[in-house]
């Protein structure tokens, strides 16, 4: 049996953002979405529940988040307006819930990979684009010379170019002004 703590922490770190994104679709605000998801995780933590497969956990998380979001909507008077809008715009059926899950999961998968960039070039690209750090700062942080940072960065981008289809690489250059 996997120790409860590890499992829970991993679950939290891996799914928190995607569940907030999913919840925001229902409750309408970032802050409320975060409250909802924190409540969901608290309930899981306190329930001592175990799951058989990862699939089950994920479905459970999303369903619990959806239920919690709807509860928050009815509870909170300020969000009555949003509830009306939600009811009007979205068909409350299983199908749209499933598709909303699919959407969140696809985005989560992509973003997760960003956090898992391998190698030093990857680390530097991450610091450069994710954190917006300048080469000098990266050099300080990693204990490298600025030239080394530049070289590793170029290497990373060169590899990137060979791995992406030309139009996607183009969009990357467009959006991040990389030359």
């Amino acid at each position: 049996m996997i120790p409860k703590e590890d499992n829970f922490e991993q679950l939290y770190m891996n799914y928190y953002s995607a569940l907030c994104y999913f919840a925001k679709g229902i409750v309408g605000s970032v802050e409320e979405a975060e409250d909802v998801v924190e409540d969901v995780f608290l309930k899981i933590y306190q329930s001592n529940r175990t799951f058989e497969t990862t699939d089950n956990i994920i479905s459970y998380l999303y369903t619990a988040t959806r239920n919690e979001s709807l509860t928050h909507l009815t509870r909170n008077h300020r969000t009555k307006e949003r509830q009306l809008r939600y009811n009007a715009e979205l068909p409350q059926n299983e199908q749209s819930h499933i598709n909303a899950m699919i959407q969140s999961e696809v985005l989560r998968a992509i973003l997760a990979e960003i956090n898992n960039l391998p190698g030093r070039s990857g680390e530097i690209l991450k610091l450069s684009y994710l954190e917006g750090l300048k080469n000098a700062d990266i050099a300080n942080l990693l204990g490298l010379s600025e030239q080394t940072v530049k070289n590793l960065k170029s290497k990373g981008i060169a590899v990137l170019k060979t791995k992406l289809s030309p139009d996607i690489f183009m969009l990357f250059c467009l959006l991040y002004k990389f030359r």
Partner: protein, 398 residues
């Protein structure tokens, strides 16, 4: 969860594989079955493959800080801190990891969605009064007698006959010319024209296919022939796939230039508000002449009129025929040229503030199916310029 429900994780896996171009036939079929099941599925699928949609939603997703939240959670709810939690959390190996090379490809695709802190904090504001929908398929056919037919209004499957030539709109909406009888004067002049915001595809009697871009017009006799040559007059931009007919060379005339071809695929850009005419060859061979000058080019080459001379360039053909595939391909394109492409497709006018420099360069690719504000937001994200849409005008400033 009932047994009948589609396996969500399988669908997610399939969509990711599609994004990476790694679907095998079986998986492709599975994915298509899901897509067809419900229009909502198809809509979701196309959103998840739209880079603009993905980009903005990934930015939204990355706003949430799991680590900070967990620290808070830990402090509030987890009383006994046993062994200190390791600072760097080992992430679960994804079920969707598809092998080293695939993971690398996945990672590379994801780098696309890196988020700069300043982009999160200052989302570009395209102030708008109304948004502008993208252009559509449509054209107007003007017959020899002056009668005008709006082709988007002509029903699929409908046809009309004029002097031995039958003009019909196929079930798929394509305009086709056929010879209904051999006799009859095929010399009646027709003009096919598109307004700003329209494109159209037509099939001529000889089998030649022509894609007409926005704000363009094509004039030709119904049987195409003039002095044993197949001749069309073009004002604007069109892409040609000319049917082979060695006895009758195909000639495209625009603004004093003529392009002579023998069964080829090429693009002519001859907008009056562009400084040059550019003829780009994809397949086959063409000869471009103007005022006694003549240049023959090979695939991948382009002839550009330069004042009174013709210049041959090597080009990236995707750059030139983007519009035909439904995209704007604006890599290393001069900013104002890019804006002209946008103006024609959305049927708007661009007004530049005096402070906007002439020499901005813009690089990238965008689907023409997006609303105008989406396209402009993406450009604003690069910091090149800021936009304001007011009705049919785009104001550009720095």
């Amino acid at each position: 969860m009932t047994a009948a429900e589609p396996n969500i994780h399988r669908i997610v896996q399939l969509i990711r594989a599609h994004q990476l171009g790694e679907l095998d036939n079986r998986a492709q079929i599975e994915l298509n079955e899901w897509r067809i099941e419900d229009p909502a599925n198809e809509m979701l699928f196309s959103q998840l493959n739209d880079l603009v949609f993905l980009n903005s939603n990934l930015i939204e997703l990355s706003k949430y800080n799991a680590q900070a939240s967990f620290e808070k959670f830990k402090a509030t709810h987890i009383e006994v801190a046993q062994a200190s939690f390791p600072k760097r959390y080992a992430f679960l190996k994804w079920k969707y990891a598809l092998g080293a090379a695939a993971v690398l490809a996945l990672v590379m695709l994801s780098i696309l969605f890196f988020v700069k802190q300043d982009i999160i904090n200052s989302t570009p504001k395209v102030t708008q009064q109304t948004d502008v929908a993208p252009g559509k398929v449509g054209a107007t056919l003007t017959l020899a007698d002056g009668k005008q037919i709006r082709l988007s209004e002509m029903k699929n499957g409908a046809s009309l006959q004029q002097a031995g030539i039958k003009i019909s709109k196929s079930a798929s909406g394509q305009l086709t010319y056929e010879f209904a009888e051999v006799k009859g004067s095929g010399s009646m002049v027709n003009t096919l024209s598109t307004a700003k915001g329209e494109t159209y595809k037509v099939r001529l009697p000889d089998g030649t296919l022509i894609w007409l871009n926005a704000a363009s017009s094509l004039t030709y006799t119904a049987n195409l022939l003039q002095h044993n040559q197949r001749v069309v007059h073009l004002d604007g931009e069109a892409y040609f796939e000319v049917a082979k007919d060695q006895r009758h060379p195909f000639v495209v005339v625009s603004n004093g230039q003529s392009v002579k071809v023998l069964g080829t695929h090429f693009n002519v850009n001859a907008y009056k508000d562009e400084p040059q005419i550019a003829t780009t060859l994809l397949e086959g061979a063409v000869e471009v002449s103007m005022k006694g000058l003549c240049k023959r080019i090979k695939p991948g080459q382009q002839v550009v009129t330069e004042g009174k001379s013709l210049r041959v360039n090597q080009v990236n053909v995707d750059d030139v025929t983007d519009w035909k595939e439904g995209d704007f391909y604006l890599n290393h394109v001069d900013f104002k040229t890019a804006m002209r492409k946008i103006a024609r497709w959305y049927d708007v006018e661009v007004v530049y503030d005096a402070a906007v420099p002439n020499d901005l360069e813009y690089g990238g690719w965008m689907s023409r199916k997006n609303n105008l504000s989406t396209v402009l937001k993406a450009i604003e994200g690069t910091g090149l310029a800021k936009f304001k849409i007011e009705g049919k005008k785009i104001y550009v400033y720095n």
